[in-house]
């Protein structure tokens, strides 16, 4: 499965693809267009030109709910679980409305709910309303909701933000475990340790354009990337 792009708007002439089973990292300075990219893939924004194809099918003109049902799930930069609902209700919604969800009975959805809660260690928080949870737990709930949808492609938008080093390590292990199960993951991140540790490939965005695309070691040595992050001064001395 490949997913390829070409598009405009706050992204300019951006073309790239993501391959089945890989963890693709997306980095870039603030304002580079990373979240905009995720919004386009998940259908909350529409490209002015170009195409978005998922397994050969164009996503243009499809509403976000249709795109989700094709097997694409995402999390938000500021985690957005349903705050006044309980953890169980949040994840159940993912199980009910995701790809397999619509043909599922309520009982089958509850089974998927229990599975997902177990996977993310959320069982004891099952009946707690999300508004009483810490940020780290809210992110886990949002992730659980996304996973309960049985996606093939998972888009994680700055899932490490606000986590302490221990939590980052745990989150990284979780992402690896999910990927080992066959999930293709696109990870937008600022936390370098996470991106370097997780990605098989990295795409770097700057001002809405792709300025690098390759293996983590290559990309971090790329002068254009260094310049984008740190300014021209630092790029000169390297090679």
């Amino acid at each position: 499965m490949t997913k390829s792009f070409g598009g405009l708007a706050a992204l300019r002439e951006l073309t790239f693809e993501i391959r089945s089973g890989e963890i693709l990292g997306v980095i870039g300075p603030n304002g580079a267009g990373k979240t905009t990219l995720v919004n386009h893939i998940s259908g909350l924004m529409k490209p002015e030109a170009g195409d978005l194809r998922f397994r050969g099918q164009s996503l243009l003109g499809l509403g976000p709910h249709r795109i989700s049902r094709l097997g694409i799930a995402r999390t938000f930069q500021t985690a957005r679980p349903f705050t006044r609902l309980t953890v169980a209700e949040n994840v159940l919604i993912g199980a009910l409305f995701g790809r397999s969800g619509l043909t599922r009975s309520l009982e089958a959805a509850r089974a998927r709910l229990d599975e997902t809660l177990r996977l993310l260690g959320l069982e004891r928080l099952k009946s707690t309303r999300v508004l009483h949870l810490t940020m780290a737990d809210r992110k886990r709930v949002e992730l659980a909701r996304a996973l309960a949808m049985d996606p093939d492609l998972l888009l994680l938008d700055e899932v490490m933000a606000g986590l302490n080093p221990t939590e980052v390590g745990e989150a990284m292990e979780l992402v690896r475990a999910i990927n080992r199960g066959g999930m293709t993951i696109l990870v937008v991140e600022h936390v370098m340790k996470a991106i370097m540790g997780l990605s098989s490939r990295i795409v770097v965005l700057h001002h809405g354009e792709k300025i690098a695309d390759g293996r983590p070691e290559q990309v971090t040595r790329d002068p254009a990337v260094i310049q984008a992050y740190l300014g021209a001064r630092y790029a000169v001395g390297r090679g």
């Binding site: 709910h65 957005r80 349903f82 705050t83 919604i93 409305f97 995701g98 949808m149």
Partner: protein, 331 residues
Amino acid sequence: MLQAGRNGGNAAPLRLGALFLGAAILALPWFATGYLVHFATLLFMFMVLAQSWNLIGGLAGYPSFGNVVFFGIGAYTTGLLMARGGVSFAPSLLAGALLGTAFAAGVGLPVLRLHGHYFAVATYATAEAMREIVNNLTGLTGGGMGLNLPLMAGSERAVGVYFYYLMLGVLVAALAVNAGILRTRLGYGLLAIREDEDAALVSGIDATRYKVIAFGLSAFLAALAGGIYAYWITYIDPGNAFDVSISVTMLVMVLLGGSGTLWGPPVGALVLMGLTEFLWSRFLEVHAALLGAVIILVVLFLPDGLLAMIGQGRRGLSPASLLQNLRRYSV
């Protein structure tokens, strides 16, 4: 899910009390005065309206300020079919309910694209526009002179009792609809839409479809109430059938009792009507000021309504929670 009765230990006395209350409600017309029966029927009607508003305003989180438009469409459709068309009550009532629903589906598609305040204003404007249209189509509707419906055969007492049970029946149906929805995909979908519509969309929920369904169901119940109102009161005009304060009253009742819950709307209706009746003895006339006062009260002290406060107890009325409530609404 979001329902009353989490304190499992008190189930038996609660059930007994509910049974007794149910029996009392069923038996009321036999031992009450004509005035009390009339008041109770009006109370049931507002409970139905509150339940109907709960579907779009409470569950979906779309605050409609114009739901009286469905009430009025139900009232006028029933009225015109009976008075001008000689059609009997049941088919007229059904036609009114269906027309109201169709109107909601039609108007809903554009209007439900708006959110929050914009949606509130648009629905309010729709209701006002409809009132003016009906007012101006004098040839058809009688305009400002109103419409007189045929009188039902029977003594005043017997007719009063008939409408009491009819309205009670619709109320039970409205409660059943709300209770039913809360257990289904539709219920979960609406709550998700209320909490965060974008997150609901990317979770796979077809928000447009669900919103229109909620709006349509809300309209069906409100139009049903309107049609019954028309035959019960036997006189309707644009002023009483499309009265904006009906829109606001049903909304305030839901907020007062507990938005998005099953029993919140009826409790809110009971408290609000009981209060006005006790203080002023004339519910429909003097309550603009009271509505304003209740809104302020709810915002400051009871953002989750009375039902939630019963759960919270004393804690809910402290200065600390007052400050917390004020902060919730800061821009």
